[in-house]
Amino acid sequence: MPFAWYAFVLLAAAGMASYTAGRVQALFLKFQSGKALRSSEGLHGIFILMATCLPMFLGLAVLASVDGPIVRGALVSELPERLLALPTVQLDQYLEQLWYLTGQSDVQLSDPFDDAARWRIVALMGQVRLVGGGSIVAMGLAGYWFASRFQTVDAPIRDYLETTLRMIFFASAAVAVLITIGILASLVFQGVRFFAFVNPLDFLFGTSWNPSNNQDFGAIPLFFGTIGIAIIAMAVAAPIGILSAIYLSEYASPSFRRVAKPAMEVLAGIPTVVYGFFAILLVAPIIRSLARSVNQLTWVPDGFLAAQPNSALAAGLVMGIMIIPFVSSVTDGVLRSVPDEYREGALALGSTRAEMILRIVLPAARPGIFAALLLGVSRAVGETMIVVMAAGQRAQITLDATSDMTTVTAQIVSLLIGDSAFDSPRTLSAFALGGVLFLVTVIFNLIALRVVRQYRTAYG
């Protein structure tokens, strides 16, 4: 990317020049007036540097993101009728190919027009970047000129700098809001385009999912698979996670806790693709052979269990293992924040440890545990790699957990993993599914966070 290098060199040069200029100017002021500067000359330099480089940096970012579309627009306006008459997809492909070929200067194109068009792209790109680069330099000079007018002996340069920094810090925090807006915008925008093709009711309540024919977009089988696998996962994660947390917070000695807690948290640090590999390597074959031996029992009808190589059960069980540490660490935190007076009171009244836990501590911690489970479910619903690798691709509604099922996340991946032209309902449906997923997980998280916060204020 030579453009990035040019940009970097330009910024670095402008930075050094403006810092030196600001500093020299401050020193000049100091000796001219014979008085001490209110802000040190270094701060003057940084102030001028920021005033010069910030507009240039923003300008470069804008230029980098709009130069492609501008050149493209200019090129399209120059294309002859015969190309403009092409359908949009073909035109896009043609342009993309030309674009790719601009980098291959040693390749000779057979069609003289294509060859000319290719060099036209290079020329246009050069023009846009020249004009853009020129205006960026002008912006830098303007910033320098504007800021240098503030340089006086008793100018509160430090206050200016601090205000600017504070604004930058605030802008950084606001990026989080921007991300949310970006997510919402892309999901809503593409989702609306999808619902122009497909009735929302058919999407939400239809029972047939077959996106390859661009017709059947009934998402119920996906919701069924998602919920089913999440239930299997929680059936593993909830008891093991809660009981582990009970041991760690109520029984374990501090030294055991110091070892066991990080060991359990390692489970949370393993990438999910590793769990997926584990599922297809070990768990799915075991489940398949178990299901086959169940089928061979005399009192079981032939083919009672599907016994597929990929199964909802395999994905669910492994996902359960993955979720254990999430449930246990939140539950552990919740249990530890139950005041010790409760425990001491229960024990003093003669209850055993088990009675204390089951009748006093757990009821007191109930909302927090609920929140932990909710966070676990939200993980299970949003988990992708395990289901992509181990659950299968067939959208079906069945109670047989040894058959393959598919989920919302697995379908999003299979819809977008290949080529993604953003105009077929097939591709757009991924965004509708993503919208449902986002909505559900956000609601779960908001409830869970709220419950945890209320719980904290109750015992805090």
Binding site: E162, S172, A176, I183, L267, L281, L282, T384, F422
Partner: protein
């Protein structure tokens, strides 16, 4: 909290009172037992996952290779049409022929694998030799030993992954007739017989199997390999598969391949040939260094992780460059400057929420906004890094806030009372104290992003990358995506490679975590 039922029961008599106490104790013990077994179970899961992956990855550590002495010469390798010496770098066929001639000179006859079925080695396996020769022509005309990885099917067979086998030795003492051309020999004269006082049990069991899953039995000496085609009383009728007959060999071994020929990817003749080459020392196991030094390939024996490793690194750099400064600055604002108002609460809720949004949603964001709207290149580390930066940002912010929050209030008060401005206080006094904690959080966040797969699938990073990417704009893939790609490979040979890639990824993650906890401990000691 007295339970009325319990009080009633304890009033029914001393004996039942004892029983009640006993049940209560049992409940206590059961709960404790259950709880600790759940902790044990979680740790056992961890152990099973790690052990199973590591044990499979060990199979990828070594690789069977052809050790052949080649003499590449200009006359043999320069195509007629070519003018430049460097053109021999593209002459795969020439190098292939050289290697095959070498192998034939050992086997004494053309390989079955030459003509049909699987080749002994992939045509591309000589590519690195061809390139090296083209680059340094002083290798021309020199006889040197070269190593060529054999085809993964043969490799897997030799590692015992394709067929069940049992071996044994036929001691001389049990033989009562030497090998000789059989009376029933065909025109080719390839039939021989050998007899025993006592037939080995494996062979007996094998010959009693049904015709449909009849095992293949081989009889091997150092110079020749035969296949058993029938048994007559105490004699084995053998057909020579490969090699020369020595009338009185030192040692005779047998090999029973229990998996019938139709159920495996490798033919009887190929088994004979590959075992012969192994006995002759032409095929030897060697460390699979290519795994760490080359890019992806369509042939498992030639595939490596270097391209994905570099891709992961580039992506991580982009992620860090974007998420770390923004995250720390956001944390400083929220922790030190933010006024208590609705806007701040809204931003905080937003960040907490983003931390729990499924990663695939960020992939959708990348596909729709970065690829479709801004037209950034597909499969590039810059896009992958951007998406992962957005994904990691909340984690970095939350960790940095915790670190800033842990800084003693006294430091702030002292700095302010000595006349520092709030900004000076933060930058000169709070930030240095919080730095180790922030770095710890940042490393952990980056470690998580290094293992992320799903969002990268949506922005096209699951592509075939044979060449090491040279910049953030090139097509690239990352380690987790490579794991996903290889794990869906049809051939079983991908399995150990996938496991080995996972081990590499886990080692990197462990190192990052060790670094983070080292920093945290140093920080706590201060």
């Amino acid at each position: 909290m007295a339970d009325p039922k319990e009080i009633n029961m304890s009033h029914t008599g001393a004996l039942s009172g004892v029983r009640v106490v006993r049940t209560r104790r049992i409940v206590d013990r059961v709960l404790k037992g259950l709880a600790i077994s759940c902790v044990g179970l979680s740790i056992a899961f961890l152990a099973v996952i790690i052990l199973s992956v590591v044990s499979i990855s060990l199979r990828a550590l070594t690789q069977y290779q052809l050790f052949v002495v080649l003499t590449p010469t200009l006359e043999r390798l320069l195509p007629e049409s070519a003018s430049n010496v460097s053109d021999i770098g593209n002459n795969m066929e020439g190098f292939n022929t050289l290697v095959l001639e070498e192998v034939h000179s050992v086997l004494g006859e053309p390989l079955l694998s030459d003509s049909n079925h699987i080749e002994l080695f992939a045509p591309l396996a000589v590519a690195s030799i061809a390139e090296a020769t083209a680059e340094s022509p002083n290798l021309l005309g020199v006889s040197r030993q070269y190593r060529i990885p054999i085809s993964s099917v043969f490799d897997q067979y030799l590692k015992g992954q394709i067929a069940d086998e049992s071996f044994g030795s036929l001691s001389q003492a049990s033989m009562f007739s030497e090998m000789k051309p059989s009376a029933a020999g065909r025109a080719s004269g390839d039939l021989y017989s050998v007899g025993f006082r006592e037939m080995p049990r494996d062979i007996k069991t094998a010959m009693n199997r049904k015709r449909a899953d009849l095992p293949s039995i081989f009889v091997e000496t150092d110079n020749a390999i035969f296949q058993v085609i029938s048994v007559a009383d105490d004699q084995l009728i053998l057909e020579k598969r490969v090699g020369d007959i020595v009338p009185e060999p030192d040692r005779i071994d047998y090999r029973v391949v229990w998996t019938p020929e139709v159920q495996r990817a490798i033919l009887d003749q190929q088994i004979a040939e590959v075992n012969y080459l192994k006995r002759a020392g032409v095929i030897r196991p060697a460390l699979n260094l290519r795994f760490l030094s080359s890019g992806d390939s369509t042939y498992p024996e030639l595939a490596g992780i270097l391209a994905a490793l570099v891709g992961s690194f580039l992506t991580l750099i982009v992620t860090a460059l974007i998420s770390v400064p923004i995250g720390i600055m956001a944390a400083i604002w929220l922790e030190e400057f933010a006024p208590r108002n609705r806007l701040t609460t809204f931003i905080e809720v937003n960040i907490n929420n983003l931390a729990a949004v499924p990663s695939i949603v960020f992939g959708l964001l990348g596909a729709a906004v970065l690829l479709n709207f801004f037209g950034l290149p597909r499969s590039a580390p810059i896009v992958g890094g951007l998406v992962l930066a957005l994904l990691t940002l909340p984690t970095v912010i939350i960790a940095s806030r915790a670190a800033l929050n842990a800084v003693s209030q006294d430091i702030r008060t002292a700095a302010l009372s000595l006349g520092a401005s709030p900004m000076q206080m933060v930058i000169d006094h709070v930030l240095p104290v919080a730095a180790p904690g922030i770095i710890t959080g940042v490393i952990l966040g980056l470690a998580r992003s290094l293992g992320e797969t799903a969002p990268l699938l949506l922005i096209g990073m699951v592509v075939f990358i044979g060449e090491v990417p040279s910049g953030v704009g090139d097509e690239a893939t990352t380690l987790p995506v490579l794991i996903y790609k290889w794990s869906t490979g049809a051939e079983r040979a991908w399995e150990p490679l996938t496991a080995a890639t996972i081990v590499v990824l886990l080692i990197i993650l462990v190192l990052m975590n060790v670094l983070a906890s080292y920093l945290r401990q140093r920080y706590e000691r201060r």
